[in-house]
């Protein structure tokens, strides 16, 4: 892979060391063993069912619709939500989970664009015109009602962003208490020398803004409405 460039590093960092009143530190810095680590106490002993309850309650706070189903019922639920939203054209990830979760017939529909399948790399344009973007969740945070997307390759970051609506498919096996559990995993990957995905999204509901008189308006630059479909895959 092509390497990038760095400019002005030495003078810049030497100046910092000088202002801190010591020699440059180029190695041997360890993170302290932090005195307090309250993040690990949160929902530490919760069962999946308890985490689902927390997630569902949080979804009301973040203006996100929730549907619950199992693998057999999933295709019908997606259909219903799309009808309710008035959505016809969909853009989805190129992700084997669609077939694993029984959605092969859905994927083959003509108004469903699989990321990466458009001629002339026109996926951004097609996705921008789609009514709804659909992705699976890679991890799901109960506390904040967040789906975590590890984008890359067939998992285009545009799918969860450009269409008018967004549907996240959430297998219950992806639910963890909060960001701490996911970030620990990413940290371990980085520590092992692996490159982390070039784009990781933590998405909590539809886009919104309170920039006009602090009035919350749902739907700004990203999707204007979001639905989480919880799939019992136990």
């Amino acid at each position: 892979m092509r390497q990038g460039t760095i400019q002005n590093k030495e003078s810049f960092l030497n100046n910092i060391a000088e202002k801190l009143g010591r020699e440059r530190k180029t190695s041997g810095v360890e993170r302290p063993s932090y005195q307090k680590q309250p993040q690990w106490d949160i929902m530490a002993d919760y069962t999946t069912d308890q985490l689902v309850d927390v997630l569902k309650e949080q979804c009301t706070a973040i203006h996100t619709d929730v549907r619950e189903t199992n693998i057999d019922g999933l295709a019908a639920v997606i259909d219903n939500v799309m009808k309710e939203y008035g959505a016809e054209k969909a853009s989805i990830w190129d992700d084997p989970r669609f077939v694993e979760y029984g959605l092969a017939p859905f994927v083959e529909r003509p108004d469903v664009n699989i990321w990466g399948s458009a001629p002339d790399e026109d996926d951004i344009k097609i996705t921008e015109q789609a009514d709804v973007g659909i992705t699976f969740s890679d991890y799901t945070l109960a506390e904040s009602g967040t789906v975590v997307l590890m984008n890359g390759g067939g998992k285009g970051q545009s799918v969860s962003l450009l269409p008018t609506y967004y549907i996240a498919l959430i297998p219950l096996s992806t639910i963890v208490p909060r960001m701490s559990q996911v970030n620990k995993k990413i940290h371990e990957e980085a520590k092992a020398g692996h490159r982390v995905p070039s784009c990781i999204n933590f998405i909590s509901g539809p886009s919104n803004s309170a920039d006009i008189e602090l009035n919350l308006v749902v739907g700004v630059h990203g999707p204007v409405r979001a639905c989480y479909i919880l799939i019992d895959d136990r």
């Binding site: 530190k25 890359g152 008189e213």
Partner: protein, 474 residues
């Protein structure tokens, strides 16, 4: 725009703020709501003080080892295929960004909200170089089309404007023909900006936190504009203040948790995005080229001084949202893009006392800011420290105050003079007194008596009263 806003004096800015009853009402309501939301978020989270202790520990460890972590960050960005430019000054940063824009033959640049690019006047520099620069954060967009009105709050930049003013601006400059409903105004901005995103050659973002261990930039937003700016344009430039860095994703978790709660009372904002370099092979979106500009612009001068903890700031604005002074005078009165308590601490450090010497006095020292700070910056103590520097080293206090202090010093060091002063005070002030109160005080006293009465000195001094009382008792 530079950090400093306008040329008017502090006093005239404050008077303008005090006269703006709409702005004062909005700010009061906003403070109330943001404060309530934060309090609820603290309670829901639990163990708030432990979280603060941890956050402070993370920030001070990182700043103490800043050279190490910045080096690690830059090496990892390069490994990911990105470019890093260390900019000592605002000019160096702007030159570099202009160079990238020229190389890419960029006409249109879309920006998501970034305080550091405001601080270094990057938009001006790019516009002078012939680029069209479009702000995409709703608040920033409103300010930009309204003839570059400066921001008045670091999280909600257009807080000083009401929806009617915004409707009028949209109508006058963008041909908007709907009502002043926030929903309709927002929908209009969405439509206007979506096309710009699709056409933009470069996306420029700030950086809430860089992550050293993976060469990542984390962006925290609700609108999704930072995502658009980093998904569609072929080139991405992120600009960060050099202190906005964490060692690993584990610290990122803690500080993002604190930032979202302290800024707006959310558990997480709608979008928290971790970006690590340009797109990888096989990716069909995201930037093909990634540049990270790391800006000093005066920050290193704060390292190793009594003010170092000011660099711990995570720009949540919690201090602004509890400040009684901000409530009354509003953001523009501070004359800096960084208002409120943290602005009063940072502005003189970054731009010098000359333009910002009044700010450390724009505080009642009630310490609400210090209590609100999620990373425990002792803000009110730093304001006192500033006052010390201004009086003792910079000699920038007013002549009247210096003479008064000298006079007091002289009188207080001699019992005879002190007694005489105390005895004569009632007589000196008697022309101004009426029924035991002074309503129109002379000189420095007028600042007080313009708005309320000042009790006139008692004729009988405490020492005399005490002596007489003893006599009566015996």
């Amino acid at each position: 725009m530079p950090m400093k806003i306008g040329e008017r004096s502090f006093e005239s800015r404050v008077n303008k703020g005090l006269d703006d009853s709409y702005m004062r009402e909005t700010v009061r309501e906003a403070q109330g709501r943001l404060h309530t939301n934060k309090a609820k978020a603290e309670e829901d989270l639990g163990q708030w003080e432990e979280w603060r202790t941890l956050s402070e520990e993370i920030r001070s460890h990182t700043l103490e080892n800043l050279d190490f972590y910045l080096e690690q960050l830059s090496e990892n960005v390069v490994k990911n295929g990105g470019h890093v430019f260390f900019a000592q000054t605002a000019e160096e940063a702007n030159e570099y960004v202009k160079e990238v824009a020229a190389k890419k033959e960029a006409n249109k640049i879309i920006k998501s909200k970034s305080m550091v690019t405001e601080e270094i006047s990057m938009n001006d520099a790019l516009e002078r170089a012939g680029c069209e620069v479009i702000e995409s954060d709703l608040g920033e967009y409103i300010l930009q089309i309204d003839d570059h009105d400066p921001p008045s709050h670091i999280v909600a930049p257009a807080l000083h404007k009401n929806k009617e003013q915004i409707r009028e601006t949209f109508e006058r400059l963008k041909g908007y023909d709907k009502t002043s409903k926030p929903e309709e105004l927002t929908q209009f901005a969405r439509e206007q900006l979506r096309q710009e995103f699709l056409e933009a050659d470069i996306g420029i973002t700030g950086c809430n936190f860089a992550v050293a261990e993976s060469g990542s930039v984390a962006l925290v937003t609700n609108e999704g504009n930072a995502r658009l700016a980093t998904t569609i344009p072929k080139t991405q430039i992120s600009v960060m203040g050099m202190e906005r860095i964490v060692p690993t994703w584990e610290e990122l978790d803690v500080l993002v948790s604190m930032l979202c709660r302290s800024a707006v009372g959310q558990k997480l904002t709608s979008y928290v995005t971790g970006l690590s370099g340009p797109r990888e092979e096989g990716d069909l979106d995201g930037p093909e080229e990634f540049h990270l500009v790391i800006v000093d612009n005066g920050r290193s001068n704060i390292l190793g001084t009594a003010f170092q903890s000011a660099l711990h700031c995570i720009r949540c604005a919690a201090c602004i949202n509890v400040c009684p002074i901000y409530r009354h005078v509003g953001g523009h009165s501070y004359g800096s893009i960084y208002p409120g308590p943290i602005g009063a601490v940072l502005s003189p450090l970054l731009e010098g006392y000359e333009d910002h010497k009044d700010l450390p006095y724009a505080s009642s020292l009630c310490a609400a800011c210090t209590d609100a700070c999620p990373v425990k910056i002792p803000l009110h103590e730093l304001l006192i420290e500033h006052r010390k520097v201004i009086a003792e080293k910079e000699k920038k206090t007013s002549i009247g105050e210096r003479y008064a202090m000298k006079g007091f010093g002289l009188a207080a060091s001699s019992p005879g003079l002190f007694q005489m002063a105390a005895k004569t005070a009632p007589y000196m002030l008697s022309p101004f007194s009426k029924d035991g109160f002074i309503e129109k005080g002379p000189g420095p006293l007028s600042g007080w008596t313009d708005v309320r009465s000042f009790p006139a000195p008692e004729k009988e001094r405490f020492r005399d009263w005490f002596k007489n009382r003893k006599k009566e008792d015996s």
